[in-house]
Subunit: 719 residues, 2 copies
Amino acid sequence: MLPRGRPRALGAAALLLLLLLIGFFLFGGDVECERGERGGERRGPGSFPCPLTPRVSADGRPRGAAAVDGDPSADRGGRNRSDCVPPRPPLPKCELLHVAIVCAGHNSSRDLVTLVKSVLFYRKNPLHFHLVTDAMARNILEMLFHTWMVPAVRVSFYDAEELKPQVSWIPNKHYSGLYGLMKLVLPAALPPELARVIVLDTDVTFASDIAELWALFAHFSDEQVIGLVENQSDWYLGNLWRNHRPWPALGRGFNTGVILLRLDRLRQAGWGQMWKLTATRELLTLPATSLADQDIFNAVIKEHPGLVQPLPCVWNVQLSDHTLAERCYSEASDLKVIHWNSPKKLRVKNKHVEYFRNLYLTFLEYDGNLLRRELFGCPSPPAAEAEQVQRALAQLDEEDACFEFRQQRLTVHRVHVTFLPHEPPPPRPHDVTLVAQLSMDRLQMLEALCRHWPGPMSLALYLTDAEAQQFLRFVEASAVLSARQNVAYHVVYREGPLYPVNQLRNVALAQALTPYVFLSDIDFLPAYSLYDDLRASIEQLKLGSERRAALVVPAFETLHYRFSFPSSKAEVLALLDSGLLYTFRYHEWPQGHAPTDYARWREAQTPYRVQWAADYEPYVVVPRDCPRYDPRFVGFGWNKVAHIVELDAQEYELLVLPEAFTIHLPHGPSLDISRFRSSPTYRDCLQAVKDEFHQDLSRRYGAAALKYLTALRQPRSPA
Amino acid sequence: MLPRGRPRALGAAALLLLLLLIGFFLFGGDVECERGERGGERRGPGSFPCPLTPRVSADGRPRGAAAVDGDPSADRGGRNRSDCVPPRPPLPKCELLHVAIVCAGHNSSRDLVTLVKSVLFYRKNPLHFHLVTDAMARNILEMLFHTWMVPAVRVSFYDAEELKPQVSWIPNKHYSGLYGLMKLVLPAALPPELARVIVLDTDVTFASDIAELWALFAHFSDEQVIGLVENQSDWYLGNLWRNHRPWPALGRGFNTGVILLRLDRLRQAGWGQMWKLTATRELLTLPATSLADQDIFNAVIKEHPGLVQPLPCVWNVQLSDHTLAERCYSEASDLKVIHWNSPKKLRVKNKHVEYFRNLYLTFLEYDGNLLRRELFGCPSPPAAEAEQVQRALAQLDEEDACFEFRQQRLTVHRVHVTFLPHEPPPPRPHDVTLVAQLSMDRLQMLEALCRHWPGPMSLALYLTDAEAQQFLRFVEASAVLSARQNVAYHVVYREGPLYPVNQLRNVALAQALTPYVFLSDIDFLPAYSLYDDLRASIEQLKLGSERRAALVVPAFETLHYRFSFPSSKAEVLALLDSGLLYTFRYHEWPQGHAPTDYARWREAQTPYRVQWAADYEPYVVVPRDCPRYDPRFVGFGWNKVAHIVELDAQEYELLVLPEAFTIHLPHGPSLDISRFRSSPTYRDCLQAVKDEFHQDLSRRYGAAALKYLTALRQPRSPA
C-alpha cells in the first residue's frame, strides 16, 4: 500500500532502507550479500553488484535512484562494486516465470522470435508468455508456438485492438504508435491472479538465465512496484538541442525495455488512475510523448520515486555511444540482457558493438528446433499435440527400412507464416493465388515469377533459421521483390532428412486468402497473361459452387538456357514446332502430362474436358477449399499424382484451358533431390507409401477407387 | 610431495581430510561451503554438490573415492547433495587457463573444433591451448587458429611423433592407438613452468564456463595431483562377460575424458616412473590396455588412491544407458560437460539424448566467427596479424561507395583445410592437381567431376559452419565421393557480403601438393582423358624449370540440359558443327576465350602458341609456384583475367593443347552472383579495382605494363 503522505513516506522508506543497509553490512555474511572478494581476488563468475549499492561515480554525478538510496554512508569508504554481491537468488524449484511482450506487425514478430530463442536457450524454469498482439502478429505467433511445441512453455494472447481505446487518447510521436503505449495497461489487461511479470521489448536479447532477473523481485521493498534499469542516454536530461523538452524523469530516468512489474501492488495502488492522471497533466504542457510509454512511466516515477526499484545496469544494456553504457559493461564481467535500441549501423570499428552483434546473430540464426528439449528436474506434461506426435513416433519401428519416410511424415515442422510484411489482397470475386513451395536453391526464380504473375502468391519456403535470414536479406536487396506486398512467404523450418514436399504445399495452400488457387511449382513461369486469363475463365466457367472442376494449365518445358519467353499461344506453338519447346517431360515421362491432349490443345479455342489417366499430374486451378495434398508422400515422386487422384475421386472435372500455358525452366538437380534419389530404399518405400494411399482410397471411395488401383498395377516404364 | 611410506601417509591424509571436513561443517558458513537451501527452497541457479561429500547411494554401493573420503560421519544424517555447495570459486580476474588436448587425424580435428567452440562460447578467461598433434592435425589446426584470430587465445603445438617412443611399447587394443596413450606423457611434454592444466578428449562438449572447472583445483589437498570424474559404466567392475578382465581400478574407476592435472606435483612425484612401473607390472598379466591411457591412470590410482580428487559427475557426463549417469543428470540441474563416448545412434525416443544432441548440434553448427569477440574486462593485446588487419580496416572510409569491396578484400577468413580425410598423392614427377572453388549450390558437380578427373584435386568451399556439416553428410552419403582419397576439400568460412573468389582460389592453390596445377572452375567437366593427357604434355613440353609456360585447355559450353559428353576431339568438333556445343560464352563475351584461336585448334595436332589479348581468361595448367590470384577482385568480374595478365607479365608462354578440352554445363545463376549483379555499385567498384590493379602492374613491371593499360582503355561491349 503506497503511503498517502509522500514526504513522510519517503522518509520512512529511506530510514527503512538505511536500517536494512546497515543490517547487511554488519550481519549479512551469506544471508543477503555475498562477498566476492577473498584475499585480494577480485572476481567470481556470476557475481554482480548489489542493486542497492549506489553506483560509485568518480564525478559524484547524482543518480536517478538518489531519492531512494539517499544515504551516502551506504557507500562505505572505498568499497567498490565488486565488494557486494547479492545472494544467489533462491527460487523455488521449477517456479513458473511470466513474461509479457507487446508485439505488432511482421517485423516485430520476427524480433520476438529471436528474443524468445535467447530466453529459451538459458532458461531452466517453465515459462508463460503473455503476448499483446495485433491480428498479424497473433496469426504468426500462434501458429509458430503451436508448431514449435517447446516443453514447459505456455503462451497466452491478448488482443491489442481491445486495449487501444485505453491509450488512443495519448498523442505519441514515437514510431511504435499506439502499441508503444500498451505496457501501461498491462496491470489491467493481464489476468488478475497474476502477481508478477517481466515485461520485455522485442528488441532485447538475453545472455543469461531469466530466472536471475525474476529473482530480483525479492529485492523489492514493500512499496516498490516496478523494477527498471536507468536510461543510458542523456534524453531525459533535456539538453540535446535548443528546444528539447523531454518528459519529466528522475535524473536520467529509466528505460522501459526491461521491466519487473508487481501487478498485484500496481492494481492495489490504483495504477490505472495514477498514470492517466499524470499523463493528462503532462499533456497540458507537452504536445505528445516522444518515447511512448517510457515517457509516462518516467513521469509517474518522478512523482512517486518510492515506486521504483532500480535494477543493475547489466539487465538492460542499451546500445549507444554513451559513456554511461560503456561504464556498465566495462566494469561488469557479465552482461545479462542486451537492448538493441540504437539505430546505428554496425561497422567493424566498434569492438563492443561487435560483441553485441555476435550475441544477437547467435540467436538470430540459432536452430529453434534445438530448443525443444525438456527441462531437467522440472517435468511438465507435454501439450496434447506434442504427446500425440510422440506416441505416433514411439510406435514406429526403427528397423523398418522406410523408417525415415514414416518419421518425416509425422514430423511437425515449426512454421512462421508471413515471414515478411504482407498485405492481404482486397477481396475480389474470382481472385487466384499462385501456390508453390521451394528451398534456398530456388530463390532465383522469385524475381522472374513476380514479373510473370502480378497477382497474390502464397509460397512455403523450407529453410533453416540461418537460411531464413539469408532469404530475408535477399528479398530486402531485391527491388522487384520488395515492391510486392501481395506475395506471402511462409517459412517452414527444416527438420529431418527427407523433403516434406506435400506438407510444404499444404502450408502454402492453407495460407492462401483468395477463393481460388493455382497449384504450381517453383520452376515454372506462367504466361504473362495467365493471371488475368484465369480470373476470366473462373468467372466464365462458374468455377466453384456451381461447377466442381479443376482447370488445367498445360505445362511445357524448354531445355535451352537462353530462352525467349513466348507472349502468346501462337508463339508457343511456333516454339514447339521449332523444337525449342517441348511438352513437359516429353522425353522421360510423357504420361505425366499426356492426358492434357496437347494435339487437341493446339487447335482448341474453348475449354475442353479430359479424362484422368494413370500418373497424370497437371497444374490446376481449383477453389481454395480443395482437398489437401497427402503428407505421406515425402521426398520426391508421386506427390502431385496422388492429389490429382484425390480430385478425380471427388469428381472434379478436368478442364483444359485453351489459351493458358506455363513453362518449366531448366535447372540443376537440387541437393534434396540428389540426396533422395541416391537413397537405396527410395523406390521401395515410395511403392509402400503408394500402396497405403490406395488402401485409404478404397476405404473412402469404395468401388470408385478400383479404377486407381487397376491403373497402379499396370506395368510401365519407371521414372 | 607424496609420502614415501604409503599406509602411514594414507592415514595421515585421511586424518587431515577428516579434520578439514569437520571444520567445514562446523565453521564453514560461507567460507567454504554455501548452503543452497533456505527455508525449504531447494535449488539455486549454479549450485552444485560439494565434491568432498560422498555421494549418497541408496544401495550403499561403495564408491571409487571411498578410500579418500573414508569417514562416513561426513555424511551427516539426512543431508543430501543439494545441502552443500562449494563457494563460488574465486579466480583471480583474467587468470590464464591452460587446456591440453591430444588430437590426431582429420576427424578428431573436426571434433576438436566443436569442442573449442563450446569452450569459447562460455569462457570469460584468456585461454592457452596445448595441442598434441600428428602432422595432419597440426596442419589443419595451425591454419585454423591462425585465421580464426580469436582474442585472448593462444595455441601451442606438440609433436605427437616425438612422444610416440615413450608409449609405443604399450600394446593398446583401443582404436585410438598410440594417440590414446599420450595423456600419460603430458607432464613431461608440456612446458616445465606450467603447473596446472585441464586435459580434454576431443569428443567432449562444454555447457558451462571452463573457469568453474579450473576453480576445482582449489579443492585439491596437498597430496592430490589429478582430478577425475567417476567412470559411469560398469567396465572396471569386470563383470561384463565371462572372461572380462579389465585393468585394476578403484570401484568403478575414473573416466579420463576430463582431467585436472597438477603437473608440478606430478613431476615432483616422479610421475614418469610411477606410471611406467605400474603399466609394466600390469602388462605382465594383461595382454594390452583396452581403454588406452585410462586403464593406466586407473591402475596407478588404485595403487595410490591419495592422488585423486574426485570431481562432481556433472563435469564429465558420459553418454550411456547406465543408471549411474542418469542419476547424475536427473538430480543435477546443471550439466557442465557432456562426453560423447557412446556409439549409440540417436533416435528420437530417448529424450535425454535429445538434450545432449541439441547441445552438441548447437556448437557443431555455430558460426565460429561469432567467437572472435574480445573478453570484457580482460583486455589482451591482439595477435600481430589481427592488429594489422584491424588497422587496415580502420583506415577504410565507411562512406566510400566501394567500402564493401575493400572490406571484403581485407577480411581474413577462417580456413579449415582438408576438412575430410585426405591422402596426399604419392610424389609423381608430372602430376597435376585440379584446383577450383565452390559453395553449397554447386555440390552437385562434385560427383561428375570425380568421374571425369581421377587425379588429385584441391577444392576450396565457401561455407557457413552449418553448411559445412551438410557438406560432410553429402560426401559421406555419396559412394563416388567417399571412395576418393585424393580430393582435398578446404572449408573457407563465409564472412562478408561479397564472394571472395580469388581468396578461395588462392587457398585451393596453396594446398595443392603436386608440382603442377590445372586452374579450373567448378562448372566445367574436363575431357575424360585430360588428366593423362596433361601429364604427358607437361612431360613432353618440359613445363616448369625448363619452360615457363601456361598450357591452355580450350573451353566450350553446352546450353543443352541433356548432353552426351564427347569422348574425343573429333566428337567435340562434331558437336560444334551441329550447334550442340559452342566455344565458351560465344554469345555474350567471346573475347574471354577467342584468343585461344579455336579455328586453329580444330586442325592443330601439336601445341601452338597464342598471344595475350585484352580480357583473355583461359583455363590453364601451370607449375604450382605460379603467381597467386589477386584478392582485390571480389564478387565476380575480371578475377581470372587479372591472373592471366599477371602470367603474361611474368612472360609465361601461352600454349594451347591440341587434344585437350573442358566443357561448361548450364546452371542457374548462384545466389552470390545475383546478389553481386544487383549491387548498383558493382560496375563502378570493379572499374576502380581494375585501375588499382593496373597501377600495381606499372609499379612492378614498368614499361611492360603499358600493353595492359592500353588494352584496358579500349572501348568494348560490356559483360
